[in-house]
Amino acid sequence: MRKRVANLIWRLMPLALAFALAFALFAGTGFDAAEIVGGLIEGAVTGNGALPNTVRWAIPLVVIGLGIAVSLRAGEFNIGAQGQFLMGSVAAVWVALRWDLPQPAVYLAAAVIAIALGAAWSCIAGVLKVLWGADEVITTLMLNFVALQVVVWITTSPLKDPLTSGDAASTSRIDSSLRFQGSGEYSPELIVLALLLIAGVWLLLERSGLGLALRLTGANPTAAQCQGLSVRRVRLWSYLIAGGLAGLAGALEVFGPAGRVVTGSTPTLGFTALVVATVGSLTVSGTVSAALFFGGLQAAILYLPIVSDLPPSGLRIIEGVVALLITAQLAAVLRRRRNSNRIPASSGEDAAESPAAKGLL
């Protein structure tokens, strides 16, 4: 138990360091850091309608983040969640606006198509990687840009809301009877669905054969191959799961709080979810907590005037610094420093790293 707490503290240190740096920047540019912290807490937790907003942002973050956690655990750097999410919301909005179906059928069709499109989008990169070794980091990033153009197209021609244009160009709103949630309120359906998904991903990762295969492939693909696993197939599954979850998150966004797809102003949930998954050390519980935390930040910065005196780009700065530092191995670095202090190095600098010095020890 004590070890787990210590571990947690080590995990949270880079996060704290990142926040300290970001707030130092805010203070340095003439913002009152204490006021911002107060505002963030008010906007995320204590304020009027703050908690529902926090949950509103946490839901897509957790759904996308869990998918990213699955792919990173499988050793695949699938960083195309943003594109997969956008494709999912495009599918959902298309079904909701264009297909004349009874209500349950709309949900079913939209969910199936959004998941399929998200998974397919992710699998483009997956297939290219698994079959031919095309670097998935670049291809998933490129697919994000392609998906963005698909959104631009859908918001400017086929499903355009004629009253909007430019960065605010959007599709028409879906029929309000189809939506689960207005702004500033909890949506029981979405919360239940998110909980189910959390439980499902936990079962998949920790209690299923596929989960074991995914983790083994990520930890040591050669060993997995020797165990008779088809590493290729397992890797493809990781793309399918990540893409499907991101696509579903896109559909939830359309049927939930957003109600439409907007070109310019969508917060980059895909990247935030990557931060969420890494902050949560790729575990289910960690990802859920991190999603609540970053959901709170998003809610506070978008909706609270005290904070939004700080430009919304402040949030991106925080996320950037967190991503920059979150994987830092502070524990290992400090431990090594301590060791090298204890045993005086014989040949000057870099003693801790040079193999010769290690041989001497």
Binding site: T29, Q149, R316, L325
Partner: protein, 302 residues
Amino acid sequence: MEEFIASTLRSSVPLAYAGVGCLFAIRAGIFHLGIEGLMLSSAFAAVGIAHETDSVLLAVAGALVVSAALSVVYWATIDLLHADSIIAGLGLTTLSVGGAAFLLDVIFDQRGRLDSGVGLPRPIKGAQAGISSLVTDLSILGWFAPLFVLLCWLVLRRTAFGLRITAVGSYSYGARAAGIRESRIRLHAMLCTSVGSSLAGVELALGGLRAFSEDLTGGRGFIALAAALFGQLNPIGTAFAALFFGSANAIGVVTQIHSVDVLPRPFILMTPFVITILFLTLSAIATRRAARLRRERIVAES
């Protein structure tokens, strides 16, 4: 056609600088996703300084300094703190995107765009026809690009420093055993990369538009990385890859000028990204095949 060639040349200049620049990082073993961010922050620094001082020289110097400073931060997080280079690189890019937008708001009280009174000098201006129309409006950095590529080739392939970079990236233990200080080599490689990406950002900001906007780079840093991979991590190859990806970009520019309506505009704008994916895959296939052939030859000879 002339318009297309001219536009290709203009679009490939930033790709060439960033692509050849990031060779130093990739050859040192770091997949540098912060390039996009370095380009954007350099562009911002350049336009910001040019906006205030009207001096191109100061703007370029400032961009180089900002890019170098961010590179040192990136190097410190992955080399001293052992952070994951991909996540940290994306973090650097996000920090730059957020930081540029933030400072644009705080310092200049602008949203999304800042104009600069001055731009990079253009040796040949406004030629309408003939050969010189192909290079008209090409900025001074465009003219220097081949020289830069050649210089990088010399450094990477013909100097001890360049070979050390490759050694560090391709066989870390060997490099260490040969007494190379890996950490320092990586820092220097990263600084070389910062120069290339910084010049790419300056070219984007002050070469044509003379303005900064938040989506100025629009994924060009990532395309430059792809160009480096497509160019088989060779400066000359990367330069040609940049030229090729630049032509994909030029399709979008030219069709916009002539408002050709073959396809809806977003589909034309996505072509550079689609082409990048396609050719990255092709080069991956080629690399694999070359490796297999080499293996088979070794087997046959033994």
